[in-house]
Symmetry: C2
Subunit: 288 residues, 2 copies
């Protein structure tokens, strides 16, 4: 395959089939046209405003959450929402804006809640050859079990800073000591819009690079990683391009790394500008 095909594969949602959900003036989600009647049937007061949908929600935070909890439970009872997580995700325009409401994670794609994550490219040099540490996800993970992933990565819960979450995930997933994790350097984002069976995942991942000492060995503490591998970057690039070994979004984090570190060269890569732009997909009406 090509790197571009990997990026396209992750951006499986047809954006024309989605309209931004506005709450308190902020775009906080993306509603699939196939879900609109269903949401209204379950009592969500969604009103048309040109290309946007405005939720006329109660002002009270708890009252909003109760409406969304009832909605999620009803959709789960119907079998439309599966894999209940018992974890609340915030509706918010971005990490620097207030949380407007909460919804059960399994039902988040129905509202198209924007998700945020942090991913660390952990690299080291062996015998003069650049290597990358990679985690194989535990076979018990609900999303893409057994796939290859960054050495540490995870969703950003509301109220924790991006960097604090990086320190936390580095410890839990790979036992990276805090002093070492603090050397991680922010290097940009990837974002994408993936179709799920009942809506969209519109995620923004904050990427960091971390150079690890040659004698460092990660080990997992939280049961989310099956094993760690340390592979030459050329081999990582080949796996990303020519196999489905990597988790889909983690593959695109690697593509971003390969662009930034000169492994992809403009003269040899006809779709170089398309790759650079393709790693940052977003619905045109979402602000950030």
């Amino acid at each position: 395959m090509t790197y571009l095909a990997k990026i396209e594969q992750l951006n499986s949602a047809d954006l024309a089939a989605y309209r931004p959900l506005i709450l308190d003036g902020d775009p906080v989600g993306l509603i699939w046209r196939d879900n609109l009647a269903r949401l209204r049937d379950h009592g969500l007061d969604l009103r048309d405003d040109g290309d946007r949908l405005i939720w006329y929600a109660p002002a009270d935070f708890a009252a909003r959450n109760a409406i969304l909890a009832e909605l999620a439970q009803a959709l789960a009872a119907e079998g439309y929402v599966r894999g209940w997580r018992n974890e609340q995700l915030p509706l918010l325009a971005n990490l620097h804006r207030p949380v407007r409401a909460l919804i059960e994670r399994a039902a988040a794609p129905v509202i198209g809640v924007c998700g945020y994550g942090v991913h660390i490219n952990g690299t080291t040099t062996r015998d003069g050859v650049p290597h990358m540490w990679i985690a194989r996800r535990a076979t018990t993970k609900s999303v893409e079990p057994g796939k290859l992933d960054q050495i540490a990565a995870g969703g950003i819960p509301y109220g924790i800073s991006v960097f604090a979450n990086l320190i936390k995930e580095s410890d839990e997933e790979a036992a990276i000591p805090e002093a070492l994790a603090r050397q991680a350097r922010p290097v940009g984002i990837i974002s994408y819009t993936a179709q799920t069976e009942n809506g969209i995942r519109a995620d923004t991942l904050y990427n960091y690079d971390l150079e690890l000492p040659p004698d460092f060995r990660p080990h997992n503490r939280d049961g989310e990683v099956g094993e760690f591998l340390c592979l030459p970057l050329d081999e990582i690039a080949r796996l990303v391009r020519d196999s489905d070994a990597f988790k889909q979004n983690s593959a695109v984090v690697v593509i971003d790394y390969l662009i930034r570190h000169g492994y992809l060269k403009p003269d040899d890569t006809p779709d170089y500008p398309a790759l650079c732009r393709g790693i940052h997909r977003r619905h045109p009406q979402m602000h950030s």
Copy 2:
């Protein structure tokens, strides 16, 4: 100001006022609605195809170029095209696609020819502090004279590879020896759509990072640089954000550098995702 405002400033074209120009099936330019009647009046056979405009040009390369040369001369005679350069720019979909026709550079915005450039971030460390080498453009330059710019940068003429052009510009503009210039590492692109007085500049710049030895001193050979400065990166960042000292697109190349090297931090930068995406603007109907 903010970094985001600098990016917005450069993207001054209203994309809704532009339609892609198709030639031999490839999008090769962007036609401003204010120019459409003018181009047709001057004999360009432009036909509507939904949101696109198809140029029914003669098959012969020389015949096409003759039509565009006549057009450019007529527009110059009317005073609509100014600053004749006596330099031909290619109409092509990207650097890896065939050239479809040529047009005088001064008239290129009228067709909205896509431009390509190469920019080098030349950095070094002084007393443990990261510095960047910056060129002040000669006061005789026709575009943004006297403004600050990367140590070496330039448009990519058709038929020269991106890397060969980097070697050439490094020598001409800053006397960087070829062996040193070859250590430059490709790190991505920026792209933007800038309104000019008679059309659009839709450019893609290929960016490279080059670490320079502490004792290296650039000097100019081609008269295009007034002086070179070596400034701490914090000072460069301040100049980009709070002044108009930098050439507009060169300022955005610096913003890209600041993102990739961790000078901008997600937790301190509410518009971080918007910055990461904003440096890659493009008309939605242009492929690459």
